[in-house]
């Protein structure tokens, strides 16, 4: 249950797997993504509503065969250049797209969490997305006859989240913006959660967000595991780094050099963070 990060990725994330690193702007599991890059996983089907920098890095490093997503940019900044390069120029390899809207992908995660085969929504009306994605269909209401949009359930082989804390039994407590992380977690066959800290006893959750221990496959203690994203109550989002990424990742060579130095060149997330701190200083 409690594992080092390298062991958790080694054991649960296999080449070819469908993998969802979720967290909507908040609690993005960067450390786990970096470890997947270090272990040079290939042919992954990446799933994430908002690919963000971590998927830009994984795609640019050639980990991904396919991407299921609904918005692929650097929030408030602009493009994800590695994602664009993969789609526009097949570099470093072609990337198959399974493209949705947020509402559609949320419905797909909800269906996955409930183990229903599809989710229905009033959506995708008047857009060209269904013409390019056979995973967007229609279903008739058996009472009114109204046609609704339908998407197939998302059930990732592995979902990876970052959270503030877990207890030794593996119960995970999440605080703050949660996006579709809970649904992605409950939809997964295997759930890995990296946390800022492992505590003896979590405070009583009552109505707060908790993932109970028996839905969690592995808990990894990893301080700063969401950086440069953030963990509410622990550290802020490094908006300056998000801006800086735009130039760091624009050119292939700059990108590869940065990844070499900062991700491949460090054995773990602590070393990665220490290296960045030296850069800043």
């Amino acid at each position: 249950m409690l594992l080092p990060l390298a062991d958790a990725i080694e054991r649960f994330v296999t080449d070819g797997a469908s993998v969802a690193l979720e967290g909507f702007t908040h609690l993005i599991p960067f450390a786990a993504g970096h470890e997947i890059i270090r272990q040079r996983r290939r042919e992954l089907h990446l799933i994430r509503m908002t690919p963000d920098i971590i998927y830009d890095q994984m795609i640019g490093m050639g980990c991904a065969r396919k991407l299921t997503f609904s918005w692929g940019g650097n929030p408030g900044v602009g493009s994800l250049h590695r994602l664009r390069d993969a789609v526009e120029h097949q570099w470093p390899r072609p990337l198959e797209l399974d493209e949705h809207s947020h509402a559609g992908m949320a419905a797909a995660f909800c269906a996955g969490a409930a183990r229903l085969p599809f989710g229905a929504l009033r959506g995708y009306l008047g857009t060209d997305l269904p013409a390019h994605n056979p995973n967007i269909r229609r279903v008739a209401c058996p009472f009114t006859g109204e046609m609704l949009a339908a998407v197939p359930a998302l059930n990732p082989d592995v979902t990876i989240l970052h959270a503030q804390r877990a207890d030794r039994a593996g119960n995970v407590a999440i605080h703050g913006i949660v996006g579709a992380a809970r649904e992605a977690a409950l939809a997964a066959k295997t759930l890995i959660v990296t946390v800022e800290e492992i505590v003896d006893t979590l405070p009583p959750a009552m109505n707060a967000i908790m993932l109970p221990h028996w839905v969690v496959s592995a808990v990894v203690e990893c301080r700063g595991g969401a950086y440069p994203s953030y963990a509410q109550g622990c550290y802020a989002r490094d908006n300056a780094f998000y801006r800086q990424w735009d130039s760091l990742a624009r050119e292939r060579t700059d990108f590869l050099a940065w990844m070499d130095e900062h991700v491949l060149g460090n054995t773990d997330h602590h070393a990665f963070l220490t290296g960045l701190q030296q850069d800043v200083a």
Binding site: F24, E88, A240
Partner: protein
């Protein structure tokens, strides 16, 4: 007021469209600035929702991303993203949605997906995000987008979100519940749909902009209303409030983040 930028003027013009107590589904960038400016001036009880699930948020600085901690900390509550989209947006509980895009056509349809063919893109854009369903369900949509012949186009490369489709009531016939794009705020003024044809027409200009400037920036033969309103420049209060907000925001985003070791 001579120092006011067109970005600021657009923001102020959009803010003025917002009534107090209305419920807005806010996007990042100019819409976020406009909504918060409205909240800090004439609409203190406006309800701001960001798609990250933060409801009734009152940030002191503008967020860079749609889910900065500032939004959660100042929210009345934080719900899941599925809940925001199904129980609030889809359920018809949003008065106003804001959208941007890379391209808009004369009926207010939007492209934020791709320039060039979908399977062989010239420029891959971020994609749909919340836009298709915001466009569908919000009672009114306001579009904020700077004009050029590359952005205001005769024909979209990809239709990401529905405006009035082909116009003349096509949107309503499609079953879309929301009212569609009631205003396009751009950097020369404002376009609004013609009541019958639903084609966007020029109905308001910034005080220092001209019809010729508008025509030059639009990639289709622009329909011009019989009467064109003038959008007053930002008042001293509006201007000062917006500048202070932007200054606070710049300072906050430049503040170094402690790397968590």
């Amino acid at each position: 007021m001579s120092t006011c930028t067109r970005d600021e003027w657009m923001t102020v013009a959009a803010a003025r469209l917002l009534h107090d107590h209305s419920v807005c589904f806010v996007g990042i960038g100019l819409p976020s600035a406009a909504c918060n400016l409205a909240r800090l001036t004439h609409a203190p009880e406006i309800v701001l929702i960001y798609e990250s699930g933060t409801i009734g948020t009152r940030p002191d600085v503008l967020p860079l991303s749609i889910g900065d901690s500032e939004l959660a900390e100042t929210a009345a509550c934080v719900v899941t993203l599925p809940e925001i989209f199904s129980c609030y947006l889809q359920a018809g509980r949003v008065d106003i949605g804001f959208l941007g895009a890379a391209q808009i056509d004369r009926h207010g349809n939007l492209n934020s997906t791709v320039i060039g063919p979908y399977d062989a893109p010239q420029t891959r854009l971020p994609g749909a995000g919340g836009a298709p369903e915001i466009a569908l369900h919000a009672r009114q949509v306001f579009v904020m987008l700077k004009a050029s012949r590359r952005s205001f186009v005769e024909r979209l490369d990809f239709r990401t979100s529905a405006g009035y489709l082909d116009g003349h009531g096509a949107r309503a016939r499609s079953g879309a519940p929301g009212g569609g794009p009631r205003a396009v705020i751009t950097d020369f003024g404002m376009l609004t749909p013609h009541p019958q044809s639903e084609e966007l027409q020029l109905t308001a200009l910034f005080a220092d902009a001209s019809v010729d400037e508008a025509r030059a920036a639009v990639g289709w033969p622009l329909l011009v209303a019989d009467r064109i309103d003038t959008i007053a420049p930002p008042s001293a209060h509006e201007h000062a409030t917006l500048r202070a907000l932007n200054t606070r925001t710049r300072e906050a985003h430049a503040r170094p983040v402690r790397i968590p070791l």
